[in-house]
Symmetry: C2
Subunit: 409 residues, 2 copies
């Protein structure tokens, strides 16, 4: 059988089939699994990319029935039961599509061209390079208005990624970079978080949403703007729908996700955000040998589509793998049952919001929970150790190791 | 005063002028100082780039008379006493040029286009990506000859960089990658080290040169070829001067160094390898306000030009800084006196050669010396700690953390 995608869903599915009587071929165009929830820390010079990624071959080295192929999937032949790649076709009897999501720019070409998405390692490194470069440019810029534009950082989107990115960016600047730039006037620096609706962290209870906005604003000096919709960006000025213009040389787009564009090219039916509707057993209704899981799958639970988040992908992987085992054993399939593990978002040092099993908490306790949960979920003991050491060092010394501009934009 | 270049020479010169009665402006096109001697370990997935580089601003944060400008030097006006950069001119009363060296391809365009140099972080990452990618391509290649070409790695140049690169590459493959690729036939893998003369590590005593070749050959399975001069490379076949053709998809060029091409554009006289001849006081004879140090400087000691190595740059930085202080104090300048600190090259686990104060040793003791010397020289306690932890982990678990292909060639 074939699994496409080595993200949370694909990797867990491969593992869950470890002792099943099948040969598992996992295909991905990258050779590593990426722990996306910490990508914003690579973008803000807190972690190194190698610390939140692991080679797929290393993760599944001991699994006997496993084979990895690094190649790009370009098409699907559901009747011939073959996945088409740039290196030829691969036949399957069962297929799990776990191809994931990508940034949704909602057709804003200016943002695509001049803004930064945050979905993979090269994007995170580009943000890191650009932010550090902006400070270097600011130091060389004699004109005060142009200097302020270099020092204005706009983050768009009030979901967890936007909140975490804005908080981490502000801390990088106010706790670390101020020491590097003694001539910098910190009053010239602005970090804005733009959100189109009237709330941050939509699905959280009101008390936590307000705590997050309050902490960002009062403690982290992030200007949170509600009802602010971006209409265009030319690399120097952000134009809002209201007509307001914000001069800014940096725009980080965390305002939307959609299934990767590959999904649309596979010939399967798609709905909102390019996702493929699946039955409660996670099969594609027209092609019962194909399972779609994670961000690429569209499934409603209690009348609402499941969010595009790692826990959904991980839980779907278990169900899809179990259903393949059941079919091999001649048993009827199980239906997917989503357990919401709660939600967490960190805002910076000692500050986070957490909503777990109906309990809401904030501040230091939430931050500790966030930290423990993320360390546990990181794959590989080496990664856990190095991330923990990095965090401890940064926490006590107000540092960020990875402030290198490793290439020019 | 102005210092151009934040390598070993420039950084030490800035430090040595820390309490001198001058304002020091350091200019570099990168925002970091790179510990080049360990770059081959980034290329072979042993270390992460962040661990062998440090932001210049962080290194010299506490120095009051210091200012850093990240910009590119494009010219020099020695009569007007100004350095020209892409961000305008900077006036100086004294200038230290510590612009460093770059790969010398000796006019071999094919090697420039299809081979890999190893002088900066992007190049090291490109080698890492390419080597790992070669294994992925080999696994997908049905034709045995084409597969073997993907698995043939040619390192050119028998100096310390070539020897260390070939040893580390062979170890990466034979100790680590074999575990990732259970279907790989290790007999298909070749690592070659081509040297045009009849010896490796030229300046070392014969016993050490022979020990290095012997260890590479017997223990590390590197095919060492003497008298092998590369005539051309097209990305698939290495053509030797002898007419022999070696099919190989990877060629790493460590066969030559020259002063960076900038040196030639500054209007100063240059000699061999584009280096600027300096007086024994390290001034440029025609322009006594300009000091040239490190790889860019040409100075003969005992009838031979000084090698292009970090210890020379560091010692020259001290002399140049001292001479500027002396001139400010109205004292006559001192002449440069080179103390050879000895030479070291590591070949892999437990294997190195060392020649220090006339004492030659090999094997495990030399390897321990190499390790201690490099850890001590790394700038920053955090880098020391993380490199040491990485090495310890890799040593005991036969691992390499950074085996990620982070972009496609």
């Amino acid at each position: 059988m074939v699994i496409v995608g080595a993200g949370f869903g694909g990797l867990r599915a491969a593992r869950a089939l470890g002792d099943a009587p099948v040969d598992v071929v996992l295909v991905d165009r990258h050779n590593y699994h990426l722990f996306q929830p910490l990508l914003y820390q690579v973008a803000t010079a807190g972690l190194e990319p190698e610390q939140i990624a692991r080679p797929v071959r290393a993760v599944l080295r001991r699994q006997r029935n496993f084979e990895f192929r690094m190649t790009e999937v370009t098409g699907l032949d559901p009747n011939g039961k073959r996945v088409v790649t740039t290196d030829g076709a691969i036949a399957y009897d069962y297929l799990i599509l776990a191809v994931g999501g990508e940034t949704n720019y909602f057709g804003l070409d200016g943002v695509v061209r001049h803004g930064f998405g945050l979905k993979d390692i090269p994007e995170a490194i580009r943000i890191r390079n650009h932010v550090l470069h902006a400070f270097e440019r600011a130091m060389l810029e004699p004109d005060p208005e142009r200097r302020r534009a270099w020092l204005t950082f706009v983050v768009v989107g009030g979901g967890p990624t936007g909140v975490e990115m804005a908080g981490a960016l502000s801390e990088l600047i106010r706790l670390v970079l101020v020491k590097d730039y003694p001539r910098l006037n910190v009053k010239d620096v602005r970090v804005l978080l733009l959100e189109a609706t009237d709330r941050l962290l939509g699905p959280m209870p009101p008390r936590l949403r307000e705590a997050a906005a309050e902490t960002l604003w009062r403690k982290k000096h992030v200007e949170v703007r509600f009802g602010a919709t971006v209409a265009d960006y030319d690399g120097e000025r952000v134009l809002l729908k209201s007509g307001e213009v914000i001069p800014a040389r940096s725009l980080i787009w965390a305002a939307g996700v959609q299934a990767v564009s590959l999904t649309a090219r596979l010939g399967l039916p798609t709905v909102r955000q390019g996702r493929v509707p699946v039955a409660p057993t996670l099969e594609v209704p027209e092609h019962p040998d194909i399972y779609v899981i994670g961000d690429a799958a569209y499934l409603e639970v209690n009348g609402a589509p499941l969010p595009m988040m790692a826990p959904v992908a991980i839980q779907m992987a278990r169900t899809a793998a179990a259903n393949i085992r059941r079919r091999l054993a001649g048993q009827p399939p199980a239906t997917f049952d989503y357990h919401d593990p709660g939600s967490l978002a960190t805002i910076g040092r000692n500050a986070a919001v957490a909503y777990i099993r109906g309990i809401a908490f904030t501040g230091f306790p939430a931050w500790v929970v966030w930290l423990v949960v993320h360390i546990i979920q990181l794959i590989g003991f080496r990664n856990k150790l190095f991330v923990l050491l990095n965090w401890a060092w940064d926490y006590f010394f107000y540092e960020r190791a990875a402030r290198l501009i490793t290439s020019m934009d």
